[in-house]
Subunit: 212 residues, 2 copies
Amino acid sequence: MTDAPAETLRRQLEFLAELDALKSVLRQSPLANRSRRENSAEHSWHLAMFALVLAEHAAEPIDPGRVVALLLLHDIVEIDAGDAPIHATANDGTAPDRASLARASLARAEQAAAERLFGLLPADQGARFLALWQEFEAAATPEARFARALDRLQPLLLNTLAGGGTWTENGVTEAQVAERYGPAIRGGSPRLWQAAAALVRRHFAATSGSEA
Amino acid sequence: MTDAPAETLRRQLEFLAELDALKSVLRQSPLANRSRRENSAEHSWHLAMFALVLAEHAAEPIDPGRVVALLLLHDIVEIDAGDAPIHATANDGTAPDRASLARASLARAEQAAAERLFGLLPADQGARFLALWQEFEAAATPEARFARALDRLQPLLLNTLAGGGTWTENGVTEAQVAERYGPAIRGGSPRLWQAAAALVRRHFAATSGSEA
């Protein structure tokens, strides 16, 4: 072990340099102005702002700073494992057992990514970050449940702002939106789901006349 | 005043929707992989990660969560006022009095942007966010000084990773790097400046043979 201060800082800077790659991981969601798809780094910033702004609406008492940390970290594994779209298995005819295999394979890839990336850090710090990532994944705390609610609310808001976004692209119905976004958002904040459901209703009411 | 809960949430969601525009504000710094310039939203995420990872190196005792909040918020004014490059006045022959006028004009534009954007929020929350932005701008606290150090360290690291970045583009010398990045980084963390200065020395030593 050579975790002298200089070695600690060297490892931390190497980790921070590696993180730059998250800016090149593209999500399915469009920006509100529809100019391009969102990347996972700017998505994580937007989510952290959602946490700062909306903390008062959490269903359970939370530490907002912990929610912010969970959200800043939650997508880092995508540097190795890529983004997993909400509507990935909606239209590709994948049978349920194959979809389940794909989920298990993704979970393994994300676990390996977490170990490699957080393993770049000094051991104590890497273990703390890994535990935060696992807390988010497991929805194990009030903070993680609220963070996961925001992680569903943000792309929902972007889709309504962009005139449909991934819903239009994937032929997603209003009922499917409720099914795929509702449980996570309600689980962190019934009040936020109430507001989100109203935005969804308004979007589908406005577009129902203009689509097949 | 109609700040009932529903109106509070409506204003907060409007603010969060407006923030999406920060993803379209381009900075001068390249990504480490040189594929494109960085935008201010992903820059803000990266900085928040710098704060989580490097908090132990702050010169003064700090609350890391407060540093994160300052960094998440610090560039929001660029939605209206644009990004102000570090090396903007280096090569354009602008006389010092004109550069000073430009700085004053930018400061007014940023103040107006802060008032408009944070003014979208419920009054109490908007005032809290405005105060955080002003704290960062004024370098008024240990947290703000550390945040400002990171805001200089991150583009320095990107430039070294990208083989020169804005330094090469603007013909910036090693001495100018020390002058433009050193005081802010040293002011928040002498230890980080020591490490950064070593990266800068290595960069200029490696490139000095290959340039005119």
